[in-house]
Amino acid sequence: MERSDGTQTLAARSLDFLKIVEAHSGEPVRRCFQCDKCATGCPMASYMQHTPNELFRLIQLGDRDTVLSSNAFWFCVSCYSCSVRCPNDIDIAQVMDTLRELALQGEGQPLPHARDFHELFLDCVRRNGRVSELELMVRYNLKLGKPLARAALGWELWRKGRLELWPRRTGELRQLFARAKEQP
């Protein structure tokens, strides 16, 4: 996949965006010296429009739009290969989380359903305190408008006693989530 943004010239802007990303993630993105280790070790790199270090360079040059509209961080599986091997000791996966959050402030969702799934997941947690896989799957399927998706798998799992039908509620976490929403 062609990862560069073609040939159009990029006008270097200030470090403001870099500072935002660093403040949010607490990671020294500017330290990156483009060694490529994160790219060559990333199991998902081939799906990404930009490798982490390319994103970092774009962040340094202040190209917010390209960065936040990239699909890269949506493909991050949080396997931490990059983070634990980065010679500049940058927790790259953490920065990917930050970029996801910043992207969500817009409506971007380059990777279909990722956002939906994560939101549903958290909603389960909000309401039950724990996640019931069955509940989560059912709601996710409804959201996708394919109620019967993975029915066979579900049946198989249930048959083998690996789906719990009635999740035990352990008190919800509505307040915690509410406060999280309020928090600036």
Binding site: Q94, P112, H118, K160, A180
Partner: protein, 283 residues
């Protein structure tokens, strides 16, 4: 004493893990009680969407353990990773402050809790397991699969070597089976994609499974619910002819200590475990 944090999956998709773990625990007399009122760690979803939640959810549980002044034993790699990462993040005052606001300033936020991975607890028993094992597993070639989350935690000294962990190998050896040297033991199985994007998850799994076959593994053992489910599911989904059963390390240890097929819920796997069962009973 040790408090056990099972995590959500152990009561459903990873039930065999819970069962076999409890069996092995009692068999070896390891004292452990479930953490009261524990809640979900937020897993990938939390840190995918909301930094504060990502820390607050584990922090809540850490706070409980801290109140009880106990060390926390975690079986699920994802939970373990989140709890560890949170513990580290809470060292920075700003984070600690933001988080404690969320969990209603529960006392003890940020006070360190001893968080142990189940593998640490089990491998401490390796000598004993070796002493009391039957010969059921002799000659069984086992590929130990750690996945990414258990050993790769940024800036946190792991309980085992990051790039080449060996605790499960030691347990497998103690259980009388043969642990293989294979290169995929810490590759990522793409669990967080198994729902969102099956295709990707399947590709990643099949690479790992293929490597296991190339190394002539009779089975794969893991200590991560997501890895186990993912590798099990992938083979089922892909309808692969040459399958490799994927067991929880506790199931293997259980068998070595004389547990029955039923105790270990060996029939609960998507990919049949008959092979091993037979092996185990023939001998």
């Amino acid at each position: 004493m040790m408090r056990f944090y099972p995590g959500c999956t152990l009561s459903s998709s990873a039930r065999p893990y819970r069962r076999s773990l409890d069996w092995v625990r009692q068999r070896l007399g390891i004292e452990m009680e479930e953490l009261p009122h524990w809640t979900c760690c937020g897993a990938t979803s939390a840190h995918a969407l909301h930094r504060d939640l990502a820390y607050a959810l584990p922090a809540r549980n850490l706070a409980i353990a801290q109140e009880l002044g106990d060390e926390l034993v975690v079986a699920c790699s994802a939970c373990y990773s989140r709890l560890k990462i949170t513990q580290r993040a809470l060292e920075t005052p700003q984070t600690r402050e933001r988080v404690s606001r969320l969990i209603n300033g529960a006392r003890g936020v940020g006070q360190p809790v001893e968080i142990k991975n189940i593998l640490e607890v089990l491998s401490a028993q390796a000598p004993r397991i070796h002493k009391e094992k039957n010969n059921a597993l002799e000659g069984l070639k086992v590929a130990c699969y750690y996945g990414c989350l258990a050993t790769r935690i940024p800036r946190v000294a792991g309980f085992d070597d990051r790039e080449n962990p060996t605790m499960m190998e030691r347990l497998v050896a103690a259980a009388g089976a043969t642990a293989l040297e294979w290169p995929a033991k810490t590759s990522c199985c793409g669990a967080s994609f198994s729902v969102i994007n099956e295709a990707i998850a399947l590709t990643m799994c099949s690479q790992i499974l293929q490597m296991a076959r190339r190394c002539h593994a009779d089975l794969i053992v893991t200590s991560c619910p997501f890895c186990q489910y993912n590798l099990d599911w992938a083979q089922w989904q892909l309808k692969q002819s040459h399958t490799v059963p994927v067991l929880f390390i506790t199931q293997l240890v259980g068998l070595a200590l004389g547990a029955s097929e039923k105790d270990m819920m060996l029939n609960s796997h998507l990919i049949g475990t008959q092979k091993i069962v037979c092996r185990a009973q023939i001998i």
